[in-house]
């Protein structure tokens, strides 16, 4: 029988250490919505989303109330729109109409983000893929809740450098298109390598073609809980440190697994995966940087940071994997800058540079995330950073991503406010040496030798 101490431990995690389920994300296939007529396509998409997601938000609230654990976000991920819009969308403007439909469906179902305005171009781009990509700046400027992602490489295919070049330009154009709002469009645009089909977290969530018609994926969180557990083992050796992270990650993930199963049962939609990620928020005590500092670093970014993050990422996986029947998505520790007060402080005190963040992305679960850079950063430099991240992902067989915000009109020393969960960020210095000749070569980088496993 459960004891009062165990009950109190759980409730303390929820009330004082900010344990929550970060997101219930409903994945929806739009493949059966295809039509040659744009109006019919939009109608099919709206009806399918509105039908399947009708009870998503209310069910999330019900579970939250009955179990007493906050479920912060309810979201939707759809089939990459480039795969759905090909017959109907002849121009970027046509795709923008689809983006508006997604936005309307998201608003009407009460979710805060909808992901999947995406193209998977790891090896090559179809004309439709390219049309969708060219529509991204206008689509993100015209919508509020739509998130976009483009997968430009994978371990199996290599890196599509034409797409990398194009995405540098698209990130800049998106920044320009939303410059009145601190270039916020770029906060909803991520460039990926090895993107998973079942990631529940934004902005990179989409419903991959390997998925069923509809599926429930859940993202757990809990940096505050891990940090608090580590406060109890200050000065202890690495064995104890690792064991403590692992045990705590197990408990956090079990809560996520329970919520995922309940949501799946109540909505009558199959359960997909639990994403075991530590996702920070800008609120105090909900920081991944805070965990690294609790391990003994003076500041996130200090020497030792990569090792600390590597062990954290690994132990979160080891603890979480036994707690859930299916794990997937990104699973690990996120290191967004603007969404983590500890990271923001580290940048402000000069301890954390983009180069150090790049090193950290070799061992975290994603990549360079929510980093504000000067508004005059050239497109080719952004492409260079994307290429570097994609190379790290390709060679290390992991997901990497770039979500940079070149904030138009801002420079190093300025701070930008994005609001809500997106937080605020100091504009960070970018290496000013050029890479345009490298980026302009065109073509693709072949898959690495260790990808040939057949």
């Amino acid at each position: 029988m459960i004891t009062i101490l165990e009950v109190n431990e759980t409730n303390k995690m929820i009330e004082q250490e900010k344990l929550d389920v970060r997101t219930i994300t409903l994945g929806i296939s739009l493949l059966d919505c295809c039509d040659a007529d744009l109006d019919a396509l939009n109608r099919n998409i709206y009806d399918k989303i509105a039908g399947l997601a009708r009870d998503l938000v209310s069910t999330g609230r019900e579970i939250e109330l009955e179990y007493g654990i906050p479920i912060v976000n309810k979201r939707i991920a759809v089939t990459p729109v480039a795969l759905v819009g090909g017959r109907a969308c002849r121009s970027p403007e046509d795709f923008v109409e689809v983006a508006k439909t997604l936005d309307r469906a998201a608003r009407d179902t009460g979710v805060n983000f909808i992901g999947g305005y995406s193209a998977i171009v790891s090896k090559g781009m179809t004309p439709t893929d390219e049309t969708l990509i060219r529509s991204i700046p206008a689509a993100l400027a015209a919508t509020e809740r739509v998130c976009s992602s483009v997968n430009v490489g994978s371990t199996k295919t290599g890196i599509n450098m034409d797409a990398v070049k194009l995405m540098g330009e698209i990130v800049r154009e998106t920044a320009e298109a939303t410059k009145e709002r601190n270039s916020i469009g770029c906060a909803k645009l991520v460039v990926l390598c090895n993107a998973p089909d079942d990631n529940p977290f934004m902005a990179g969530a989409f419903h991959g073609v390997s998925e069923a018609d509809a599926v429930i994926n859940v993202g757990v969180s809990g940096p505050g809980v891990i940090k608090h557990a580590l406060e109890g083992v200050r000065g202890a050796n690495f064995e104890i440190l690792c064991e403590t992270v692992k045990r705590t990650a197990f408990k956090v993930t079990r809560a996520g697994q329970l919520v995922a199963q309940e949501a799946s049962e109540r909505l009558g939609i199959p359960f997909g995966i639990v994403d075991l990620s530590l996702a920070p928020t800008p609120s105090v005590g909900d920081s991944v940087a805070g965990i690294l500092e609790e391990m003994g670093l003076e500041s996130a970014g200090a020497p030792g940071t990569t090792a600390a993050l590597a062990l954290l990422n690994d132990q979160v996986k080891k603890g979480g994997i036994m707690a859930s029947s299916f794990v997937g998505g990104l699973s690990g520790a996120f290191i967004p800058v603007s969404e983590d007060q500890g990271m923001i402080d580290a940048v402000n005190r000069g301890a954390l540079t983009i180069e150090k963040l790049e090193a950290m992305t070799c061992v975290c679960s994603v990549g360079l995330d929510m980093i504000a850079i000067p508004g005059d950063t050239p497109a080719s430099t952004i492409s260079g950073i994307i290429a570097d991240e994609a190379a790290i992902g390709m060679i290390n067989q992991k997901t990497t991503a770039v979500r940079l915000i070149p904030v138009i009109g801002k420079d190093v020393g300025d701070t930008v406010e994005f609001g809500g969960l997106l937080g605020h960020a100091p504009v960070q210095k970018v290496n000013r040496f050029g890479c345009a000749d490298f980026i302009n070569r065109g073509g693709r980088i072949p898959a690495p030798i260790h990808s040939f496993k057949n």
Binding site: M1, I2, T3, I4, E6, V7, N8, E9, T10, N11, E62, L65, E66, Y67, G68, I69, K251, R254, A255, Q257, L258
Partner: protein, 90 residues
């Protein structure tokens, strides 16, 4: 599925258990176990109850117990047992 954990935390006072049990009895909720401690002068109680026979919607019970807690100056939480067993038992 029908097991629920009710936790009560607050300043100790006469009649806390009586008032909560009266509410539960009135709604056909069976109390199966009670344990309590006093931590630094604060009353800390946990009840395991069975709501299987109750016709009261769960959300209403959560809200009414919360109100009752406010009236008697304690914090009452009502959560399905699974959140605790899943976390603390393999």
């Amino acid at each position: 599925m029908s097991k629920t954990i009710i936790t009560v935390v607050g300043k100790d006072a006469v009649g806390i258990i009586a008032k909560i049990c009266t509410y539960l009895a009135g709604n056909d909720v069976n109390v199966e176990d009670i344990s309590q401690t006093i931590v630094q002068g604060y009353f800390n109680m946990m009840m395991i109850v069975d709501t299987g026979a109750s016709t009261k919607p769960y959300a209403a019970m959560v809200a009414e117990l919360d109100e009752l807690g406010n009236a008697i100056g304690v914090r009452i939480r009502c959560q399905r047992e699974d959140i605790f067993t899943k976390m603390h038992r393999i």
